[in-house]
Amino acid sequence: MCEKELLVAYLYDDLGDADRARFEAHLRGCADCRDELKALRGVRADLVTWAPFQPDFAFRMVREPLPAEGGKVVAFEKPAARSRRGWWTPAAGLAAAAVLVLAAAASLAHVEVHRGADGITVRTGWSASAPVSARSFGETSSASAPAAGRSKGETSSASATTQSARGYGETSRDIRLASTSDANVLAEIERRLNALEASSRDSGLRNASTLSARASDAEIIRRVRELLAKSENKQQGELALRISQVIHDVDAQRVADLNRIQQGMGRIDASVNAEAAAHRDLTNYILTSAKQR
């Protein structure tokens, strides 16, 4: 080990007993190394002063509830976390709830309108690929993604009657229409929707699958309630965090004010002293000149 490596190891107190004794013996006879060691210790003391601003860490990993993502894990940052940058959105919890409600509504209604190069596509009904009762909320919703159900929907659009007999599970269909006549399109959409609604109702009355649908409704409502409760807890947590921040800010401001007052008092003291001295000088001058006269 060369001398500089020994010096660094000694600086960080990372030498074995033998090496340490050897280096200390060297130090006793070498003023250069002693100076260097002292200077580098000073540098280390300076390094300690460099502390980064510590933000409020508030991101956590969550399973994203958005249907399109199929519930993948993402990092979620609480809105208060970037408050130092000057924005804070207390409505984020509400927004999350709104997304949930929308997602729930979408999965209940399952009406999808898609306008592409080849015309307007409307898809309604429960997707055949989603046995609702058995799956979690996120996965159920993901089945409504256009890509997932598109081809299936097209193939199953042949006959409303045979499908309705099989219940909700397979009433998914696409209605593809040329964009030439909008009035026709609208009329067609309405007719199909009505037909679909009627068939759903019929099949609902006749078919045992309504039970699973109801069960899934209850499941969704339960999930939404759960998530709302979670969101409420989170908001309470944020409030507590916010309050502690305010307390900290107020404290900091108070200390700064005290420092400013102290500095101000110091300045006033100094100027008062200076003025008093000037007065004293003036008095002395008057007295001496009076005596001289």
Binding site: A45, Q54, P55
Partner: protein, 202 residues
């Protein structure tokens, strides 16, 4: 009884997000500090910190536990910082405030510290940030890992994929540059009653 990192990692691997979030709480400050000191920007350091945990979570299956969990996290962070520096094509920025904000200072002050000491400390801190930003990246990283994260020479050597002696040389060269530059910048250290160096200061 708090769980060890290894226990939390094992549970996280089964998809237990709560356990992983405990690891996040435990390590987010050191990881943020490492990213901040490496790239010098609060906002980007925060993003790197978040991305580190996201990547760590996704890659948990590949973490075999040969190294400490923290070393593994540090490595991910340093890779992300390197990508950031390459992408931004610039040296890290010394984010040193020109003026001294008394309010911010007061928040950091300890009751025993005078305002003069506080200002001196802030000046030194700004000078350190500036000089560190100019150091070659390997030297800077070695100093950061040693000074602020208390890693051993061997751990730093593993992380930098270099021999032990290279780590010591990098530390020596980096500290020597710091010494010269700080002396040249003439920051007033004499008035500072002074913190003593500590190994595990984050």
């Amino acid at each position: 009884m708090a769980s060890t990192d290894e226990e939390l990692v094992a549970r996280s691997r089964t998809g237990d997000l709560d356990s992983f979030n405990q690891l996040v709480v435990r390590w987010e400050r050191p990881i943020y500090a490492l990213a901040y000191r490496t790239i010098g920007r609060e906002e980007d350091a925060r993003d790197v910190c978040q991305e580190t945990f996201l990547r760590a979570f996704r890659a948990l299956g590949g973490f075999k536990g040969e190294a400490k969990f923290s070393s593994w996290l540090y490595r991910i962070t340093l890779n992300l910082c390197r990508d950031w520096i390459r992408r931004e094509r610039r040296q890290p920025i010394a984010q040193a405030p020109e003026g001294v904000d008394l309010v911010e200072l007061a928040g950091e002050s300890t009751p025993s510290e005078s305002i003069e000491d506080l200002v001196a400390r802030k000046e030194i801190s700004a000078a350190v940030a500036r000089v560190m930003a100019d150091l070659p990246q390997e030297q800077r990283t070695a100093i950061i890992l040693k000074e602020y994260h208390g890693l051993t020479f061997q751990e730093i050597a593993d992380m930098q994929d270099c021999p032990l002696s290279t780590v010591k040389t990098r530390l020596y060269q980096g500290l020597s540059v710091l010494r010269r530059q700080l002396e040249r910048s003439g920051v007033n250290r004499s008035g500072l009653s002074g913190p003593t160096p500590r190994n595990h200061h984050v």
